[in-house]
């Protein structure tokens, strides 16, 4: 334990993890209530193609992934707006396209299997100092934009039509939410991996929705559940010698099941 706490690797993982938890905990509540829980999952597939491109070009995979993921997010919005499609069809199309492109790019170069694996399954204990800063900046952008638009987002999520009449810039905020999700997905790639990043956008928020009586406490609970999942997940993975990403998601699942059973006892804090 002392050895763990003395290690720079551990602290880097923890700090980056907490920034991720903050972004996911807050953003997740809005996404779940907007019935966009799967958008993180879809965008993570797009992020995969960005990573593959970065590795192929041998140029800053995370930054390339961020650019590609934002582009994918814009495409989803464009198709949604102009494609006359139902529900999350646009998401399904772009996410498949991202995955297909990623697989193609991976096949074009041999030898980045190990590096790419670390992004597929996450490698929170291999976080560099640069990546900690990257996560801090992205998380800060998410928090600031959600704070500035807090009331408008609540209004439009609760009653979209009336928010429109009140002059809320609903379309711009829709776009902002998709772009913030794209950023958060990229933020989570190295920490929990492509395959599990969407879990942190959905599970803590869903757990919070079971117990919190109002919006503010839902955001607080969701962020708290994210923090607990990340911290406990890292410790458990160290003690049990298991992958951190899987442990983080398991902890969040336990919290979710716990809130489901305690649903009737609403929080009174």
């Amino acid at each position: 334990m002392t050895e763990l706490l003395a290690s720079g690797i551990f602290w880097r993982a923890l700090v980056a993890g907490l920034f991720l938890a903050l972004a996911c905990g807050l953003l997740g509540v809005f996404l779940v209530l907007r019935k966009e829980a799967m958008i993180g999952h879809g965008l993570s597939h797009v992020a995969f193609s960005g990573l593959a491109l970065g590795f192929l070009l041998n140029f800053m995979p995370l930054a390339v992934s961020l650019a590609v993921c934002l582009l994918g997010a814009i495409l989803i919005l464009e198709i949604r707006e102009h494609g006359s499609l139902y529900g999350d069809t646009a998401l399904g199309i772009i996410s498949s396209a991202g995955l297909a492109l990623g697989i193609l790019l991976v096949s074009m170069k041999r030898g980045f299997g190990v590096e790419l694996m670390s992004f597929l399954f996450g490698d929170i204990l291999a976080i560099s100092l640069g990546e900690v800063w990257f996560s801090a900046v992205l998380a800060l952008v998410v928090v600031i934009l959600l704070r500035i638009n807090y009331h408008a987002l609540i209004f439009m999520t609760f009653d979209r039509e009336t928010a429109l009449v009140s002059g809320v810039r609903v379309k711009q905020l829709d776009r902002m939410m998709v772009l913030l999700t794209a950023m958060t997905v990229v933020l989570g790639l190295k920490l929990v991996g492509i395959l599990l990043v969407s879990a942190l956008l959905v599970i803590p928020a869903s757990a919070a929705l079971q117990v919190a009586p109002n919006f503010k406490k839902t955001l607080l609970s969701s962020t708290l559940f994210s923090f607990i999942s990340i911290i406990s997940g890292i410790f458990l993975s160290y003690w049990l010698d298991t992958p951190a990403a899987a442990m983080i998601v398991f902890v969040s699942l336990v919290l979710f099941v716990g809130t489901l059973t305690g649903k009737k006892k609403k929080m009174s804090f």
Partner: protein, 259 residues
């Protein structure tokens, strides 16, 4: 603003003016050549059978839909240039049929509207809590400020939405079948409240309803719609006109159903 519009605003106090408006869903006409005006202090009921274009007309009036032809003026300004949306309170159809799991308190419902855009936030930034309390007191719900909205009855939820509309001190309220799904007693209380807001607070009200009977004693003007404007005028004249007979033939309800 042209001189003509200025006269409209100051002399006639015309709050809404619908001028030769038509609207189509794809190529199917929903409204044809509608001319209608709402003057300050009016309590106007827009009535008509299902599919007559009542909701469409209300959505055109608040800018949610754009007319295929014709113009709409709000407070003398063309709707495209109108920005003072806090002067308008809107309550949509089935407004209370929101997500029952949505975690939001009564206070948050109202404060989210009060802070929803910079213009409204700056105008009402002082004493926000008191403003929220006052708007809740107007609808008789000040004690429920901290309650999650999904724990209130349908009638109470409806009144919270009125309080949300009132908090930005609007000059007109537009409501679309606001009591759908609310029991009859709560409906009567709700329309009594609207009548009181109209008389005591001089709030102009436009109400879309298919059940004219229950609002009958509160309104002073009636617009009767069936794609075209069949009647638009004073309430008393409407009740004695032949339009009433025509509407009864069409199965339209002029008296409320008591189940």
């Amino acid at each position: 603003m042209s001189a003509e519009e200025g006269v409209i605003m100051t002399v006639q106090e015309e709050i809404i003016r619908v001028k030769e408006v038509s609207f189509y869903y794809d190529s199917i006409p929903a409204l044809e050549d509608i001319n209608l005006s709402v003057v300050r202090g009016d309590f106007l009921a827009i009535i008509g059978p299902n599919g007559s274009g009542k909701t469409t007309l209300l959505k055109l009036m608040v800018g949610l839909l754009k007319p295929a032809s014709g113009q709409i003026f709000l407070f003398g300004q063309e709707i495209e240039n109108f920005r003072d949306w806090h002067r308008i309170g809107y309550i949509q159809q089935k407004a209370i049929n929101f997500d029952p799991h949505f975690p939001i308190s009564v206070e948050e419902v109202i404060s989210s509207s009060l802070n929803s855009n910079p213009k409204i936030r700056n105008k009402f930034k002082s004493n926000q809590k008191q403003r929220i309390m006052d708007s809740l007191a107007t609808v008789g719900l000040e004690k429920l400020i901290d309650r999650p909205i999904n724990t209130l009855s349908g009638g109470q939820q409806q009144r919270v939405l009125i309080a949300r509309a009132l908090v930005t001190e609007p000059e007109i309220l537009l409501l679309d079948e606001p009591t759908t799904g609310v029991d009859l007693k709560a409906q009567e209380e709700f329309y009594d409240l609207l009548g009181r807001l109209n008389r005591e607070y001089h709030l102009t009200i436009v109400l879309v309803t298919h059940d004219f009977g229950i609002v009958n004693r509160h309104v002073n003007k009636v617009a009767c719609l069936n794609q075209k404007l069949v009647y638009h005028g004073q309430h008393e004249e409407f009740c004695s006109s032949s339009v009433v007979q025509e509407f009864l033939k069409g199965g339209h309800h002029l008296v409320s159903h008591r189940h």
